[in-house]
């Protein structure tokens, strides 16, 4: 127990919290970017526009089926070979956005597919154009079905930011490793801190989501 008191100094605690802040920063930026790109790609895939939708579909399937860790490696260590260099923070956000956009596109597509086709037919019969029907009638209903899978995806995203420790992004996991690297007695206290901090953030998000789900559902 003594090691806990030694490990949880104010300086170490602040060092970890700054890491948590980087984790949240990367998560929020990636969530916003990938939601926009994912929504767009999901719609493109759904509307079955000749050639374009097919190509987008193949690209989404390729990205979705690769490990995120590989994309992070590739972005940070592979892309400089063809002249694209990024800071760890930018590389992490870029890799996560590409991966999560593909995941979200699939969620959006199945969300739209789950809406009864009668809704679009009804909208068209009432004089709305295809795009109006999609935007005002189908998408809002699809969004309701998309909330649970989207939230699990966002929680995965927050947890997966820990992978960016490999490209020396100073987020939570990386900083905990630095602290217990100085003294092995700090290992258990640091893993407890990691578990608690990640749990609190992710579990809080899932609680907010189930509230939200009840309100719109």
């Amino acid at each position: 127990m003594n090691s806990f008191a030694e490990a949880y100094t104010w300086i170490n605690f602040r060092f970890l919290l700054e890491g948590l802040w980087v984790t949240i920063e990367v998560s929020v930026v990636s969530i916003i970017l990938s939601s926009i790109v994912g929504l767009f790609l999901g719609i493109v895939r759904y509307i079955r526009y000749p050639v374009v939708s097919g190509v987008v579909g193949v690209i989404i399937d390729l990205i979705r089926n690769l490990p995120l860790l590989l994309l992070i490696f590739f972005t940070y260590f592979g892309l400089p070979k063809i002249g694209i260099r990024m800071e760890p923070l930018t590389a992490a956000i870029a890799a996560m956005t590409v991966f999560e956009s593909a995941m979200i596109a699939e969620i959006v597509r199945s969300g739209i597919l789950a809406v009864d086709t009668g809704q679009m037919e009804g909208a068209r019969a009432n004089g709305l154009t295809y795009w109006q029907g999609l935007w005002y009638i189908v998408l809002p209903q699809a969004l309701r079905k998309m909330i649970p899978p989207l939230v699990s995806q966002f929680i995965s995203l927050i947890k997966d930011t820990s992978l960016a420790t490999i490209i020396v992004l100073p987020e939570l996991m990386y900083r905990a490793q630095i602290i217990y690297g100085q003294n092995t007695r700090y290992m258990i206290p640091m893993f407890v801190a990691l578990a608690v901090l990640y749990f609190v953030v992710c579990y809080a998000l899932s609680l907010v989501a189930s509230r939200l789900e009840k309100r719109v559902g």
């Binding site: 089926n65 690769l66 490990p67 995120l68 592979g78 070979k81 947890k159 258990i188 893993f191 990640y198």
Partner: protein
């Protein structure tokens, strides 16, 4: 990319083998653990329900990397020595079991409650009814999401690279740092991952359509 396969085919294949091996082991044990906790969650006992819930929420909300690293650095120091492959596979098993528990629980709850009532009315005990009547029917709902969990498992097994687990990602990283040909090596590694995950993913989509 072709030259990476020609020069380092052996290492990559070893990595691919380890990736498949640890995914299959983790799938097997996480199915057992996950189904157990899923059954906990539908039992009449409140205590077991709470235990099931806590287990699932804890392992679902902590990064796999934290769990894997715990078994790689903390457990050998204080409890028992283990290599990276074992530590990574245990981490993967615990992490995946929480997702499988959620999947199986949803499957059990999708089975009409009349099935359980009918079985109980015919004199079966709760566990008999669960094992012989409810679980076989739940299986049908659970197959496509379990397939998707397995795909996630294969992708997630790449964290073995952090704990020297000699999986595909680790081998790729070794080749990349030895040859400096990062660009082509990571593409080759990606192709090998896709060889496992892509056919599975299309098959699951086909199954989902067929069962729906």
């Amino acid at each position: 990319m072709i030259s990476v396969f020609q020069q380092h085919g052996q290492e990559l294949l070893t990595g691919l083998g380890n990736t498949i091996l640890c995914s299959v082991i983790a799938l097997f044990f996480s199915l057992i653990i996950g189904s157990t906790f899923a059954i906990f969650e539908v039992l009449p006992s409140k205590l077991l329900r709470v235990i099931g819930r806590i287990y699932i929420e804890v392992f679902r909300n902590i990064p796999l990397l934290v769990i894997g690293m715990f078994f790689y650095v903390v457990v050998p120091q204080y409890v028992l020595p283990m290599d990276g492959f074992t530590a990574g596979t245990i981490g993967l098993t615990l992490y995946t079991s929480s997702f499988i528990a959620e999947t199986v629980r949803a499957g059990i709850q999708a089975v009409d409650s009349g099935q359980m009532e009918g079985a109980r009315a015919n004199g079966l005990s709760f566990m008999q009814a669960m094992w012989h009547i409810v679980l076989p029917q739940a299986f049908k709902y659970v197959i496509p999401p379990l397939g998707n969990q397995f795909i996630n498992l294969v992708k997630n097994s790449s964290v073995l690279a952090f704990v020297a687990g000699f999986d595909l990602m680790y081998q790729g990283d070794m080749i990349a740092s030895a040859t400096f040909d990062t660009f082509n090596t990571y593409i080759a590694v990606g192709v090998l991952y896709l060889i496992i995950t892509l056919p599975l993913s299309y098959y699951m989509r086909y199954l989902e359509k067929k069962l729906a």
